[in-house]
């Protein structure tokens, strides 16, 4: 019952006018960046990091959580109304949602996405509330070797299991790990890869890397092949909510939640996988499967719910283990660290008031998002129509500003540009950028845990695998990897001529 009291206290904190304003700011910003192509929640949180140093941690984290949830809502509006989908987790929504909009049923598509997101977000937040303290209690008993195992699992799934090219994903991870190495070694105080430059001895700031790879990289990438002319938005038509709407939507919402939450919780790459699974499930269960591909509402309701449930699920390993499994989660870990707080099992004991206020703000944020995204959807349609030259010029300006505001030195802007150019070429050649960010943030933590394990075991490498938890984790990983390889080989056999994708 202690948790319920703590949650109520969290609500008491989060319901104070000041914190409500921060939550509103966060969800509004989040929806805006979700709606706008070219920027996502990861980059926005990174950009705001230097600007929020003057706030207390609870306020800043409430803003960041709002951005995180808001980005998921906003993305669906874009994929339904814009002819060209973006944000990977809502691509599936575009399949049916965009068709619905073009067939004059845009209102119903937007409504099922927003209400589905709300239902799933709220149920998943309840599950998070119930599960997180228990998992944190269990996680306290984990030793350094167990953490190493968890990080290896996260690295492998984020870099190699998702995405089209495991090799390129691992290369991206390697680049991130390398950037994480630059600076002063925490255990021995030795300089590494600083090239003798004094500003490098503090390492390369996470903000600079995240903003470089997301904002500058994306802006250059879009600039190289930009779609010119006015932005084509499908007009919102049709009835919002009818009896048929509710009858056909409620089951997919619940199924999407059940699929999304567990997938978000395990390090399996967050939202993308869950939306594909939910879409497949809805298609299989549909009474009229022939409607799929022509604008079936179930194909919007299910994946959108799964998407938001997964987003909440990602917070479970993030808060209880300090383990980020998506790029945005990795940046949020960096945000915690910038306040001297390490997310992980001790968070619920050491920063109990803060973490419960944060969880309470998630419930509040979900309600705000429902209002922001349903009655006020017209505003976001306007935002979506910002002429692209101004949008990308603005992204570049705020990227440079956010980077400069970290230390007020021009050196950081040089690093920003170099990383931006790297991000540009990575996008051109199928190197996913999420592993880079996850590697950058988890890398130093992984190194520390490996070295601590080996210090305790006096150099015996077997200590890394002999703990029961670690052994189980590695075994599961091995099975999953084997399955993935079998599936890849099978796919290659069925498609013998290995045509490269353009």
């Amino acid at each position: 019952m202690g948790n319920l009291t703590a949650l109520l206290e969290g609500f008491a904190t989060a319901a104070q006018p000041e914190y409500l304003l921060y939550a509103l700011l966060g969800v509004t910003l989040g929806t805006a960046v979700g709606v706008l192509p070219g920027i996502g929640p990861a980059m926005t949180v990174a950009l705001l990091l230097p600007l929020t140093y003057s706030l207390e941690p609870t306020a800043a984290l409430i803003i960041f959580a709002g951005i995180y949830y808001g980005g998921m809502y906003g993305g669906s509006t874009t994929s339904i109304l814009l002819n060209t989908p973006g944000e990977s987790s809502s691509i599936v929504t575009a399949l049916e949602g965009n068709r619905m909009a073009r067939a004059g049923r845009g209102a119903a598509a937007l409504a099922t996405a927003a209400i589905g997101s709300f239902v799933a977000g709220t149920i998943a937040t309840i599950l998070l509330t119930a599960l997180a303290p228990t998992i944190a209690d269990l996680a306290v008993t984990l030793g350094p070797a167990d953490y190493v195992a968890l990080m290896v699992v996260a690295f492998t799934t984020v870099a190699a299991l998702l995405g089209a090219s495991p090799v390129r994903g691992l290369a991206s991870l390697g680049i991130g790990l390398f950037i994480g190495l630059v600076g002063t070694d925490t255990l021995t105080g030795q300089q590494r890869f600083t090239l003798g430059v004094p500003t490098m001895s503090d390492g390369i700031d996470v903000v600079v890397v995240a903003v470089g790879v997301f904002a500058v990289g994306e802006a250059l990438y879009v600039a190289a092949r930009m779609r010119h002319g006015p932005v084509e938005v499908v007009p919102v038509g049709g009835k919002w909510m009818t009896a048929e709407f509710w009858r056909r939507s409620w089951k997919p919402w619940l199924r999407g939640t059940l699929i999304g939450f567990p997938i978000g919780t395990v390090p399996a790459g967050g939202a993308d996988v869950s939306t594909f699974l939910s879409y497949a499930a809805e298609k299989k269960l549909a009474k009229r499967p022939e409607e799929f591909g022509k604008g079936a509402i179930e194909g919007v309701a299910g994946p959108e719910a799964a998407n938001n449930a997964a987003a909440a699920g990602v917070l479970v390993p993030l808060l209880t283990l300090g383990l980020p499994t998506t790029a945005t989660a990795a940046v949020i870990v960096a945000a915690f660290q910038s306040y001297g707080i390490q997310p992980g099992p001790l968070l619920f004991t050491n920063n109990s008031a803060m973490v419960w206020a944060l969880i309470a703000s998630l419930y509040i944020g979900n309600v705000m998002l429902l209002v922001l995204n349903l009655p006020l959807v017209k505003i976001w349609v306007k935002v979506l129509q910002i002429p692209r030259p101004y949008l990308y010029a603005g992204i570049l300006l705020f990227a440079a500003l956010g980077t400069y505001a970290v230390n007020f030195v021009v050196d950081d802007l040089i690093v920003l540009m170099v990383i931006g150019v790297v991000g540009f070429f990575m996008r051109r050649h199928g190197y996913p950028v999420a592993p880079l960010v996850v590697g950058l943030i988890l890398g130093p933590m992984a190194e520390e845990q490996v070295r601590r394990t080996l210090q305790i075991s006096q150099g015996s490498l077997s200590a890394l695998v002999t703990s029961p938890f670690a052994a189980v984790a590695y075994s599961i990983l091995a099975v999953v990897l084997a399955l993935a390889i079998v599936m890849r080989v099978r796919r290659r056999i069925t498609r013998p001529v290995d045509a490269p994708q353009p």
Partner: protein
């Protein structure tokens, strides 16, 4: 593996013909850079001073592992490219997949960024920001005078917000001493 996909000639019917050579060259170069970064990591790691109690892992071990990862994945990416398996370019809403890469625009944007970072210490942040926004918007196709108006307003608003509200002040440069703009 059939023999046709080991040597993707320009006339192979399997679709390889649609891959422009420039894309392949770029892939090789990028893969080569990954390998080069790995080699640098391995070589430079040997210069890290490693002292510590016996039996503990020093500051070199992890860099060696990262260097090895980069070399191996870089080589594998090159091999994959050789076999015709190129990395698929990322999708985005504002990308027109039917047009060729406009390198001039990319170069101009990089030049604008360089100008911005060079100007901050010379003339202050507001002017440098105007140059960045105006230059980028104009390069991307905005009408020049509209872009200029937005650039001036945006830069000054941000400067005022920083100077008055956030307690972080950006260098005012040419606006030094001006009320509101100089924090």
């Amino acid at each position: 593996m059939t023999s046709s996909d080991t040597v993707p000639g320009p006339d192979t019917p399997s679709g390889t013909a649609s891959v422009p050579t420039s894309a392949k060259v770029e892939e090789y170069v990028f893969g080569g850079l990954v390998v080069a970064l790995g080699v640098f990591t391995l070589v430079d790691a040997t210069t890290i001073t490693a002292r510590g109690p016996l039996g503990s892992v020093g500051p070199r071990a992890f860099p060696y592992a990262v260097g090895a990862l980069l070399v191996v994945t870089g080589v594998m990416a090159i091999v994959a490219t050789l076999r015709g398996r190129l990395g698929p370019a990322e999708d985005a809403e504002d990308i027109d997949t039917s047009v060729r890469t406009d390198w001039a625009t990319v170069a101009k944007l990089v030049a604008v960024l360089v100008a911005h970072l060079a100007l901050i210490d010379l003339v202050g942040w507001p002017v440098a920001a105007m140059v960045l926004f105006f230059g980028a918007a104009w390069t991307l196709g905005a009408i020049w005078w509209k872009a200029l108006v937005v650039a001036v307003v945006l830069a000054l608003v941000v400067q005022v917000v920083f100077a008055s509200g956030l307690g972080l002040s950006l260098p005012a440069g040419v606006f030094e001493g001006v009320p509101l703009l100089d924090g």
